[in-house]
């Protein structure tokens, strides 16, 4: 009992006035916000994982959905998404450079790199808008996706043997009849939702039984397969895209503040570090979205 009241210096015991984590209030709170935001994204991606495992046999493969690239009709699976990933990585790098310039109190450097980060963010947003547009509109020529009421309302795809992925552009007429023709002539076969191919007779039977051509995507149905697939696409990339949008906005506000000299007066550029954390977080989330939505 008597030993307990020896004096302890404030360096050994935290008696207030110093931070146990040696960061400013603002930076610490940004970290706590990011942890909670990461939990939201973690929950969304876990829900996606749940549904992917639950519908393991019918979940669409992203290589068969995201193969478009602006300005060409070539079949380039995942290349556009990879480009978007690269844009985001580069804008993360320019942000590190802005933070580093801030530590040297190099105002010109901060303006240069922060402006580059804003441009990178806008590039990403535009790319995403294009991706959504392509996803919603579907194939430019006629879609080869058919809703089969006789096969549990599943979506089946016509696959052409000579490696093209849609009807010929002059393929006018009733799409279901065209599909039956293509199957009868051996030009194409019908890939069912569970990725197996139907026999010629089954394919014709399925198509004749009230099949309906589906083009593009909305929240109720889409040409790629399960409605949940498009729902998760819109929800996860949309939530991430909204983060990018607000990140660009924050970066713009901070850029103006740097230009009018707010942080020169304050004596340090820590604000760049705080918005920088948020911006890197957006890149971090995309790394996970890329793997768990697109790749796996």
């Amino acid at each position: 009992m008597s030993e307990d009241n020896t004096e302890v210096s404030s360096k050994e015991a935290w008696g207030g006035g110093v931070s146990p984590v040696k960061t400013s209030y603002g930076k610490q709170m940004m970290w706590f916000f990011l942890v909670s935001d990461a939990l939201t994204f973690g929950a969304l991606l876990t829900a996606l994982g749940f549904m992917k495992h639950r519908f393991a046999d019918v979940w669409p493969l992203c290589e068969n959905v995201f193969y478009h690239f602006p300005g060409t009709h070539a079949h380039l699976p995942l290349i556009y998404v990879a480009l978007m990933t690269f844009i985001l990585i580069v804008s993360s790098v320019t942000m590190v450079m802005a933070v580093e310039a801030g530590h040297r109190l190099d105002k010109k450097g901060v303006i240069k790199w922060l402006a580059a980060t804003v441009v990178g963010g806008l590039f990403f947003l535009t790319s995403q808008a294009w991706e959504w547009d392509t996803f919603i509109k579907g194939n430019e020529a006629q879609s080869t996706a058919f809703l089969l009421p006789s096969d549990n309302e599943n979506i089946a795809h016509l696959r052409f043997s000579d490696d093209h992925y849609m009807f010929n552009e002059d393929g006018l007429g009733n799409p279901v009849e065209l599909a039956i023709q293509a199957i009868n002539s051996g030009e194409a076969s019908l890939e069912l939702a569970n990725k197996s191919y139907a026999s010629k007779a089954d394919a014709v039977k399925f198509l004749e039984n009230n099949a309906e051509q589906i083009q593009g995507a909305n929240l109720k149905r889409n040409e790629y397969g399960l409605p949940l697939y498009a729902n998760f696409f819109f929800c996860i990339t949309g939530f991430h895209g909204f983060h990018v949008f607000s990140g660009v906005l924050f970066n713009l506000i901070i850029l103006v503040q740097v230009m009018i000299g707010t942080y020169d007066k304050r004596g340090h550029f820590e604000m760049i570090e705080k918005t920088g954390l948020y911006w890197h977080f957006i890149d971090l989330v995309w790394v996970f979205v890329f793997t768990f939505f697109y790749l796996i």
Binding site: K22, S24, G42, T46, D57, E63, S92, V93, E270, L295
Partner: protein, 124 residues
């Protein structure tokens, strides 16, 4: 209470000031991390295009490859770009420990349950 991010003599922010040489070193490291991130992304995309035949043993390996590469990329972004690896240990673990623990548990339990529902025919 005075907000410590607004005071002119913010000791934590000021302690971060560094010289030209230190800056050059940091920039060099940033470029190394950037090239690693890019290389990993290129490998991932190549694997996604050429080794994506589902239901094979190769695919199982590729899948785990994706997960490991993603973890490595995330680690580089958090530790270097977000500077968490150079913060005080207390802050580092305050952020990492609860998150990693919770997410690993959530992912494990959800995937196990989903696989079970699929196996008993609740899938489709």
């Amino acid at each position: 209470m005075e907000r410590d991010d607004l005071t002119k003599d913010n000791e934590y922010a000021l302690s971060a000031h560094h010289s030209e040489e230190a800056g050059a070193q940091i920039r060099k490291k940033v470029w190394i991390v950037t090239s690693l991130l890019t290389v990993l992304t290129v490998i991932e995309v190549a694997m996604g295009i050429f080794l994506s035949e589902r239901g094979t043993i190769t695919w199982q390996l590729v899948k785990w490859g994706f997960i490991i590469m993603t973890a490595v990329k995330a680690g580089m972004i958090v530790m270097e770009f977000m500077h968490l690896g150079h913060e005080k240990k207390a802050l580092k673990w305050l952020v990492l420990a609860p998150y990693i623990g919770f997410i690993l548990y959530l992912a494990f339990i959800c995937l196990t349950e989903a696989t079970y529902i699929f196996s008993v025919g609740g899938g489709n």
